[in-house]
Subunit: 190 residues, 2 copies
């Protein structure tokens, strides 16, 4: 009761509302626990709906995962960047959490352990993140720059969320945060 912000049960029957509730709950739990350790019942319990509705409305857990990714992967973020403040902007908008904006990378990374989910995540990662960033970086060594972005993002998020070693006792250590920002900035400058 005190733990989660579970959705209240639908009193009136409304398929669209139910679908949205499932999507929202799924996004939350996939982010938190990863694809493999997230059960369909975890999602439907949180959404306050019946377990069968995941298969009915989305065609199964895997398709639901794909639907969550499609919903969350918003590439417009690339257009909001500028090379002057790339490091700061990326860190604020893409790596650290921002209220109102969902960071898709943790969900994507939560799929690497499952071969089927990974295939889906990989396709979206390529089309919605890697390619747009490559294009945005422009000509010289664009793919290498995009790879550097992916490597640092992936490494940092995995380290922070899955491998809580020092210096992550409470939050990101200032010196590490500073390094991160410089790393991202260097991608567009070096």
């Amino acid at each position: 009761m005190a733990t989660g912000a579970a959705e209240p049960k639908n009193k009136t029957r409304d398929a669209d509302r139910t679908r949205e509730a499932i999507l929202k709950a799924a996004q939350h739990i996939f982010t938190k626990k990863g694809f493999v350790e997230t059960g369909v019942r975890d999602i439907t319990d949180r959404a306050g709906v019946n377990q069968a509705l995941v298969s009915r409305y989305f065609g199964g857990k895997l398709k639901l995962f794909e639907a969550v990714l499609e919903k969350v992967l918003d590439v417009r973020i690339v257009t909001e960047l500028d090379k002057e403040n790339f490091g700061k902007l990326v860190l604020a908008n893409f790596i650290l959490s921002t209220p109102g904006r969902v960071n898709p990378l943790p969900i994507l990374l939560g799929a690497v352990a499952d071969s089927k989910a990974r295939r889906i995540a990989l396709r979206l990662l390529h089309d919605r993140i890697f390619v747009p960033f490559s294009v945005w970086f422009g000509s010289e060594e664009a793919e290498t720059r995009a790879a550097r972005f992916m490597i640092i993002s992936t490494g940092f998020l995995t380290y922070r969320d899955q491998l809580p070693l020092p210096p992550f006792a409470d939050e990101v250590h200032p010196s590490l945060r500073q390094w991160l920002e410089a790393e991202f900035q260097a991608i567009v400058e070096d």
Copy 2:
């Protein structure tokens, strides 16, 4: 037949040899498929032994995973480093594969999706890698440097092994390799 280098069946009964065969097969498959997608039967089939022997000799899949990590995590590599050639040495000995030496990081990273396996991997990662590296780095910002090492290693290996995007068509692109080496070198220099 043509695919794997499966162990031949033990003709003579020898518990030690069997244990070794299981460890060797487990190391191979854990590295290749990760903890979650590796089945006990996958391991025992490759080792050419009965499936029950994993539980009998190691106490279960999780304990076997721990035994593989214990066997593979060799910290002596830290003592072989020097700050002059840190980037080159780390890249050669710790990131890229070296014949005869097993890189423990992919096995460790293959456990992040499973909460129980992750706990084991995290403990060993801390004790056998993070702390030794921190100590080796020495005084100033040692933990931040160790974190940078972890982030870049983790990001690169995840990217290369789990998310094969460009520029990884065949092997590591030279410009990316060059960047990686410089990143590692900068950890001890900046």
